[in-house]
Subunit: 494 residues, 2 copies
């Protein structure tokens, strides 16, 4: 996947360790040098977080994790290594001393990527023997999860290094952006510093607290910025006339005291044309209506994603839904079906975004998850609930047969029904149907479960209440016709 | 659900129509007055967007939609109405004229909520007969989807109006934030103006284009801001010592030219204590480790949500998964097995922490995930790789049989082998074995796959190269003994 198989990381702070994590997760070996006494434990904490996050991030099979070597000296870390990431403190003298050591011990063609968030690469290059291989590659915390990395060349940087860096960071799942003109703090930190300085005034002047300020961001424009930036957002606000209209409306505000930042560019026709032209090039292939709907779909999806995490704007949505639920009628539930003479409605859910593969339809493994959830719901119905399991007994699935009959896409609503094929002694055989809410049968699942002791992991008879509840439903369901597809082996003729 | 059953909206621009949409979707009738000739069509476009978004936003049963009445005159709109939302242009004379008309025709106790994004409510109240019922309730575009609304009282505002407003906007699914001190542009637009002005400099100085600026936001800090604001984010960056440490590290930057915004508050102990104390009150009940994991879970969920929408950072994740898919075969050392006369080693992986269920062993659905990954690896081996799929053909699983033979725990290393049972025409029947690396057989999976056109979703013959590669292996594997458990139906006697 990647030509670079090993990277040296000099400095293991929050940013350095974040790089280490992203590299290891992508199968690249890392030599880490950080003289701080707690460097190992601090790095390990970041690696633990990254492990946890990557397990959730993607269902794709990832490469075998890279090997991390803690190196006592910088020399040991960089010797023979083709790519070196420097994340030492933002101090020019320290950085220059590190580069001098690197140049002494590393191959002369090894790339040096500085994580500096503010110092211009041309300044970093001063006094270097081979300055053409140094660039800034400025990432954002948490480095292992945020895609953007700003690539900035110094006056002496070989542009081929930037080209190679683009490929390298892309292979790590990142989105490199080449900042074509050097300035201190580059681009992102310019914007962040502007927000930060304005925020400090708002706190100092007692206008708002840190919490109020944060809430105003995360319940408001922060949701927009996760999916569109400043200009595309305002292009939409300008309506069908787009950016020019927005600028006409809000240009005059620049002279108003709406921020402490009063050193503003002159608002003139030249600036309007520059911005409107760039905005047309960026977003002109979408109509405003299209952009509005893309934005809306994203805002919906982000709030739903946060709802699943019980956080921020997702909690606002959850509270709203609670209000609606209280106000409205109760939906269908197991409790609402005391009659078990038909297959039982066991679960209902919407397909979440993380259940999809790269075709954006539900991954095949999630069919079994739907059936596993249906089994859980049925187990609860017969009294094999969390308390019962906590007391040391449960059912284990020993055999599964699935007919994958139709595709289902993200956000579509599905439900399951469950029919007991047999239920006696240690055994329970279930037949689930997974339906789209529009009535389409998506899959069937036939499952043999064995009741076990969680202590011995051996089969055993269920508690009498569970067994009686199961048998009662089994008797009723024995009168139902055998479901289509029951008892099939894979590939058996129809 | 709500005491307010009807609202008058004066002004139907992007903001006014956004209010109309949010109100109607929540079952509240609206009288809209806007003298612009295209007001109806513009409002209808926003209502269409809102309809579409709400259909996706929540599955909860919503109230019957409110009734919209377009009113020829302001008088007709406000007569007898208890809540009036003013969203007319940001011009003091226009606003004062509108309030005068409202006071002439509306009940004297009717609340007047101005949507102004910058004018202080005390200025709006000048000359009013009943100024105590006027406040600012400043929303954000799109009003029907973004939760935050800034509530700002003027000098003469009755605080009971703010209290009632909190309840009212909450009932609409919003997150009202009371800005306790009046300033021009309030809080959110202060931050937005700071970003905007800095952005204009970056464009004017030719540092970046609108597209590059937007990408740096939406692939970077914009993802963070969707779930945590400025201060909670930086608290995490400070590590275990939190906000004080962050301020110590970055306080000095305030005197550096990292933005054009150089009028900065004095960085002193008093400011540090103010901010650190507020940050403790806001986030001190979480450890930094907890905050890191909350942040990571949110960043993962947001990127996955955007993947489903095929947009922004979600596209970066999708591209990354495509790369992993391509690389998967190579890392699984298939190339190291040119001899296909035995079952083929298809995948190897460690069981991640989130794959375990309440029984503390791997969830049953993940057995199918292991087999799905093995199928993917085998598909790549015969040339059905990302490019092939991108060109419009693939194999879909239509039937699965799993024998769950043993448990497996977190962090244990497993691998799969794959035997072709048959492979000819549109059909491919595979038999996977999942082994613990210690040699224990954990499960077997038997799968029927059909080759399909991704355009028509119908079965079709594979390209000749794929078919030949499959058939060659099928011929070799036909000489192997039938694997144990092949052709079983669920519950069939041994």
């Amino acid at each position: 996947m990647n030509a670079v198989k090993i990277v040296a990381c000099i400095g293991g702070g929050v940013i350095g360790a974040g790089w280490v994590a992203r590299l290891l997760e992508n199968g690249i070996d890392v030599n880490l040098h950080d003289p701080a006494p707690d460097a190992k434990s601090k790095t390990q904490a970041v690696l633990d977080n990254a492990d946890r996050a990557y397990a959730k991030l993607t269902m794709a099979q990832r490469p075998v994790k890279g090997v991390l070597t803690y190196c006592e000296s910088l020399e040991l870390a960089v010797r023979g290594v083709p790519w070196i990431i420097e994340s030492v403190p933002e101090n020019m003298e320290i950085k220059h001393a590190v580069y001098q050591q690197i140049e002494t011990h590393a191959p002369s063609e090894a790339v040096i990527a500085s994580s500096t968030s503010g110092i211009m690469p041309s300044q970093l290059q001063q006094g270097m023997q081979y300055p053409q291989r140094l660039m800034v590659a400025h990432p954002f915390n948490p480095v292992y999860l945020l895609p953007v990395v700003e690539l900035v060349a110094g006056e002496q940087t070989d542009l081929d290094v930037i080209t190679r860096a683009k490929g390298f960071y892309q292979s790590l799942g990142m989105r490199p952006i080449h900042v074509r003109k050097e300035i201190e703090a580059f681009v992102a930190d310019r914007l962040l510093e502007a927000i930060w300085r304005e925020s400090l005034w708002l706190i100092k002047d007692g206008i708002a607290t840190t919490e109020e300020l944060d809430d105003i961001v995360r319940f408001g424009f922060g949701l927009r910025y996760a999916q569109m930036g400043v200009f595309e957002t305002y292009r939409i606000a300008g309506g069908e006339q787009g950016m020019r209209h927005f600028l006409e409306q809000f240009g005059p505000c620049l002279s108003w005291p709406w921020t402490k930042l009063m050193d503003v560019p002159e608002y003139n026709e030249e600036l309007v044309e520059l911005i409107a032209g760039q905005s047309d090039a960026q977003s002109g292939h979408y109509s405003i209506r299209q952009l509005e709907r893309i934005r809306d779909d994203n805002l919906v999806a982000i709030q739903q994603a946060l709802k699943a995490n019980e956080w921020g704007a997702g909690l606002v949505l959850a509270d709203y839904e609670k209000q609606l639920f209280d106000a409205g009628a109760k939906s269908a539930s197991i409790e609402a079906q005391p009659d078990h003479s038909a297959p039982i409605r066991t679960t209902r859910r919407r397909i979440p975004p993380d259940w999809t593969d790269y075709n954006n339809h539900m991954n095949e493994a999630r069919y079994l998850q739907c059936f596993g959830d249906a089994t859980d719901a049925f187990m609860r119905l017969i009294g094999c609930d969390a308390d019962y399991i906590h007391n040391g007994k449960s059912y284990f699935t020993v055999e599964t047969h699935i007919r994958h009959l139709d595709e289902v896409r993200v956000n579509e609503q599905v439900h399951t029904t469950t029919q007991v094929l047999s239920g006696a002694g240690k055994k329970m055989q279930l037949f689930h149907c997974l339906y789209h809410d529009n009535g389409t049968l998506l899959a069937t699942g036939e499952h043999m479960l064995i009741h076990v002791s969680l202590e011995t992991r051996a089969a055993c008879i269920p508690d009498v209440e569970v067994l009686e509840a199961l048998e009662a439903i089994a008797v009723l369901h024995a009168r139902l016709p055998a479901p289509e597809g029951v008892g099939r082996a894979v590939g058996q003729a129809l």
